[in-house]
């Protein structure tokens, strides 16, 4: 057993780093995510043919297999696929950020309210959540895209409309456990306001669970976004989207395999990165009830 002084000598940051660096899953996931984000941000500066993002046509170079000039080959109108994949990462990441940026605050706040207040507040919020959970996101997105016009904004809207429910569920269950903890009761007896208790006492204790969930979610959102685009209900050409590229390339299989396979691999790697990172963070923070 260590004395407290010794314990203190090992600072927080060091302990976290120590555990993180010895967790290969987390490290690989983090590397993938960081590299993808950097590529996406720097896309205009590092891609060989930045103008190929738009409706460029270069028939002399169409259907070129992967080579030194075109790492991922070219598509049916002669555009560099590597360039378009990198720009495609951008769209996928923006989709994830916007969807989660809308869904998480809503989900977290509703979860906190339902978990802390209980009673009819809980009943109303959690029943709505249950109903929303019963609808598969892809079906919802298809419906929204069918009613409105298929576009990036609409597909994000559709996904965000359902995604908050998972966070509500998660935060609700954590809050219910925390509500009876002594430190929450202590804050109540000290006269702290409800807002203080919800956002200063309980929320900080949810952060690690939210981080894990967010990372895992990002992978799923990206997959669903790609699936929508693949079905023609998401991003519309010529904007380079990974799902759309897979769909277009699919008509040239198996001869020009690179046109769908390589963008497909990019989706896979990106989603995998987020999932590995999420799993790694879960081990690191030791949170259990997050799926």
């Amino acid at each position: 057993m260590r004395t407290d002084a010794e314990q203190h000598a090992l600072s927080n940051a060091w302990q976290n780093w120590f555990r993180f660096s010895r967790n290969p899953t987390a490290v690989i996931g983090a590397v993938i995510v960081v590299v993808c984000v950097l590529l996406a941000i720097l896309a205009p500066y590092i891609t060989p043919y930045p103008d190929h993002v738009g409706a460029v046509v270069d028939f002399r170079n169409r259907h070129q297999p992967p080579s030194a000039a075109h790492w991922f080959g070219t598509d049916n109108v002669g555009r560099d696929i590597f360039t378009r994949v990198i720009f495609g990462l951008r769209i996928s990441l923006i989709l994830a950020v916007v969807v989660l940026g809308v869904a998480i605050p809503i989900g977290v706040i509703l979860g906190l309210l339902a978990g802390y207040f209980g009673g009819w507040v809980e009943t109303v919020i959690m029943r709505i959540t249950d109903i929303a959970l019963a609808i598969p996101p892809l079906v919802m997105a298809l419906a929204v895209a069918a009613v409105l016009s298929p576009s990036l904004v609409n597909s994000m809207l559709a996904i965000a409309l359902l995604w908050w429910t998972w966070h509500t569920r998660l935060i609700y269950s954590i809050t219910r456990q925390l509500r009876t903890q002594e430190f929450v009761e202590a804050a109540e007896t000290l006269g702290a306001s409800r807002r203080h208790i919800l956002f200063r006492e309980i929320l900080p204790n949810c952060v690690s669970a939210i981080a894990v969930k967010t990372s895992l979610d990002a992978g799923f959102v990206i997959l669903i976004g790609a699936a929508l685009s693949f079905l023609g209900l998401g991003i519309q050409p010529p904007t380079p989207d990974l799902g759309t590229m897979v769909a277009q390339g699919a008509s040239f299989l198996p001869d020009y395999w690179w046109q769908s396979l390589l963008p497909g691999s990019a989706i896979l790697i990106l989603a995998l990165g987020f999932n590995l990172l999420g799993d790694g963070l879960r081990d690191l923070f030791d949170v259990e009830d997050v799926r």
Binding site: E185, A186, T189
Partner: protein, 296 residues
């Protein structure tokens, strides 16, 4: 004119309904069953009881964490149960919890935790300086304000909890087993600190514990709680020296003591089939004896 007691409980009741399937009420548990007591200023009142005696429920009711189903709680002669009971009035009573590890938010620094009551009650003046002064009061260095609870030992955490409770200058502290999670040597220092602070600040304590040896040394008046009722009360030396109620006797006889003098003062409890009886056995036995007497 005598000053009104700092805390007065008048015939306090708390009944929990027992619910079966579909929320139907099947019965009730009388957790607190008519408890009355009053504590004059500057006194330490020890409430002794085991699990299920209702001692924690009493603390929770005083702190406003649960509402009594009957009776009244008065602070400085004014009820804290009415709708008009203000935050300012509530401020006068604060609590130190049993487990210092659980009563401090693990994600907030010591300084942030101590600031909670200052912010909640709109403390006038420099709050940061007040936090430093409070840490000093509980004999912790002021740079502890930057630390997180897990960087502190159990005793240090409990000091922080005491500092937090003292932040808004309460008149009464409810101490719910404040040292039962600590080592004896640490416990001795925390009790010493509480005694010093009590003298300096004119505090009144309601000390809830199952540790009778500790109570003997810290409290002046004691109430023995059994199944929601105070079965015996009086000056601590008197109650412990000449216990009248069977349950008090059993409690005292059960204390693991460390000297022959203490052993000599523990009441003898008759063994039943070679075993120490439970409180229920003992009281049932007494009941039988009484009904026999009546018949004779």
């Amino acid at each position: 004119m005598t000053a009104s007691p700092v805390l007065e409980l008048r015939d306090l009741h708390k009944v929990f309904p027992l619910r079966g399937t579909f929320g139907r009420v099947r019965g009730e548990v009388r957790a607190v069953d008519g408890v009355s007591l009053s504590i004059p200023k500057g006194q330490v009142y020890g409430l002794a009881g085991e699990s299920g005696s209702g001692k924690s429920t009493i603390a929770r009711m005083i702190m406003g964490l649960t509402r009594p189903t009957g009776g009244d709680i008065l602070l400085d002669g004014v009820s804290i149960l009415g709708r008009q009971a203000s935050l300012a009035h509530r401020r006068k009573v604060q609590m130190v919890f049993q487990n210092p590890g659980a009563s401090l938010n693990p994600r907030r620094t010591v300084g942030q935790s101590i600031r909670v009551p200052l912010d909640a009650h709109g403390f006038p003046g420099n709050r940061q300086r007040r936090v430093a002064a409070l840490l000093e009061m509980v004999q912790l260095p002021r740079h502890f304000a930057e630390r997180y609870p897990h960087e502190l030992s159990g005793g240090q955490k409990q000091r922080v909890a005491i500092a937090r409770a003292l932040a808004v200058e309460p008149r009464l502290l409810v101490l719910d087993e404040p040292t039962s999670a600590l080592d004896v040597s640490v416990q001795a220092r925390i009790i010493e600190l509480l005694e010093d602070l009590g003298g300096e600040l004119g505090l009144t304590y309601l000390f809830i514990s199952h540790d009778l040896s500790l109570m003997r040394n810290f409290a002046q008046t004691v109430g023995v709680l059994y199944r929601g009722r105070i079965v015996e009360t009086g000056a601590v030396a008197q109650v412990f020296g000449a216990p009248q109620h069977d349950y008090t006797r059993l409690l005292l006889a059960s204390v693991p003591v460390i000297s022959a003098e203490e052993e000599a003062m523990r009441p003898a409890i008759p063994l039943i089939n070679g075993e120490i009886p439970t409180a229920e056995d003992l009281l049932a036995l007494r009941q039988q004896a009484r009904s026999k007497e009546r018949q004779a």
